[in-house]
């Protein structure tokens, strides 16, 4: 009787495996999109404290998503022209715009309140933040950029009064990604660079990959992995050992721009 039960349960388990492996185009992929995801530095959407925040050209919108099937625009804050990117950091939102870096606070509720604008010359690029330091790239070569190609390292300990620590000359900087010890900066068609930021006020370039075009990137800090998007496609790197960062895979883009 016991062995019969055993056979039954094995059959049952086996049939379960069969059922789950017999889906159509998307096999056994339900419920895998739970939790919150992560975008790159050029994202215009981000989640923070249960709300969705969106930038669009001139404004910053708060979307109440507490009722999943009925999201609502809770508020629209007019920021200024040329707002392009949004980055969440603690209770704050950092916006990249063509005129500078805006900092907004969510400490007084879900509608962002203005803290400061760190101005720079006309340029079009994003910002990332770690350990009270913001890294902002500015690039020329577009209609909107009159300034030089560089990265600004900005102390944002006082969020109402950011101060420039240093600038680093770049070739054509685009998106970037940061964790506690490393900073990755895309140089567009010219590749990407890795900086050691153990001394967070003084990034030191430790590697330059000039053959991997990089417009934006996401660092998965837990897995020590970097995902890069650029005109040749998607490249994934492992940086567990920063002395030997290696490429894990490539997804080829068939239309190189």
């Amino acid at each position: 009787m016991k062995s019969l039960y055993k056979i039954f349960s094995i059959c049952f388990l086996f049939s379960l495996v069969l059922i789950t492996s017999c889906g159509e185009s998307f096999d056994d992929i339900s419920d895998d999109f739970g939790g919150e995801g992560k975008g790159g530095s050029t994202a215009r959407f981000t989640f923070l404290k249960g709300y969705l925040y969106i930038v669009d050209e001139t404004s910053l919108k708060t979307i109440d998503i507490s009722q999943p099937d009925n999201p609502q625009v809770l508020s629209t804050v007019n920021v200024g022209p040329g707002i392009e990117t949004i980055f969440p950091y603690e209770n704050f939102l950092f916006l990249g715009s063509q005129t500078g870096m805006y900092i907004y606070s969510l400490e007084n509720g879900p509608t962002p309140t203005y803290l400061s604008l760190f101005e720079h010359s006309y340029a079009c690029d994003p910002v990332v933040v770690a350990n009270n330091i913001a890294y902002v790239t500015l690039r020329s070569g577009t209609a909107c950029a009159t300034g030089p190609d560089r990265m600004e390292v900005v102390d944002v300990t006082n969020l109402s009064n950011p101060s420039l620590i240093t600038t680093i000359e770049m070739i054509n900087p685009h998106g970037l990604a940061v964790n506690d010890t490393l900073l990755f900066v895309g140089e567009g068609e010219f590749g990407f660079k890795v900086f050691n930021i153990k001394n967070r006020r003084d990034p030191v370039e430790i590697a330059y990959y000039d053959s991997i075009p990089a417009n934006d990137m996401i660092s998965i800090n837990g897995r020590r992995e970097l995902i890069i998007t650029g005109e040749k496609g998607i490249f994934q790197y492992n940086y567990a050992d920063i002395d030997s960062i290696y490429q894990m895979s490539q997804i080829v883009a068939t239309n190189e721009n």
């Binding site: 994202a43 577009t142 209609a143 934006d216 897995r223 992995e225 998607i234």
Partner: protein
């Protein structure tokens, strides 16, 4: 010595002219450089057909132009600018597996939370329930979240035909010869 001064003077004129041009170029297409051009090279919007405008999943497609990327759990999403989102199973990053394409005409950005994928579609913000990829649903649409919509051609500093929302969603731009373009960026 005199000559040097003069060339400096000239240089400053050029600089001023360039600055004025850039000022104009940096604004939206409302402030434009010169619209007396009758015939010029520029971009024309490509509109979605009725079939293309439907939000739905399709079999995996090649990545043509890699746009923005997004990571949710073991999945990697790659935006195919103005067309939709490639879905990769990235549980093994050494071997990302292209499992399907989520068609969202006019899309540029996505974000995912609790099985809902938020995406811009032209001027609208969609929340798409992706808990079952075989049966995705547009859970809600908020209109006019993006008043500027997906209205720009891929390169800055060029003339283009202003998109007409009544013709549908813009899913691409073709480089062509334009007569009396009214938009510039």
């Amino acid at each position: 010595m005199k000559k040097l001064n003069r060339s400096r003077h000239l240089f400053s004129h050029y600089f001023a002219l360039a600055a004025i041009f850039l000022l104009f170029a940096c604004d939206d297409w409302n402030n434009v450089p010169d619209f007396d051009v009758e015939e010029t090279t520029g971009y024309r919007p490509v509109y979605a057909t009725e079939a293309e405008a439907e939000v739905k999943t399709l079999p995996a497609q090649e990545v043509e132009n890699a746009g923005k990327i997004y990571v949710i759990g073991d999945y990697l999403l790659i935006v195919e600018q103005l067309r939709g989102v490639h879905i990769f199973d990235n549980s093994d990053p050494s071997n990302p597996d292209n499992i399907g394409f989520l068609q969202i005409a006019g899309n540029g950005d996505v974000a995912v939370r609790d099985n809902l994928l938020y995406a811009d579609q032209g001027a609208n913000l969609l929340a798409i329930d992706i808990s079952d990829l075989n049966n995705i649903k547009v859970a809600s649409t908020i209109k006019d979240v993006f008043p500027f919509g997906s209205k720009y051609p891929p390169s800055e500093g060029s003339y283009f035909e202003c998109p007409d929302p009544s013709k549908g969603l813009v899913v691409g731009w073709e480089l062509t010869t334009l007569q009396n373009p009214k938009c510039y960026r």
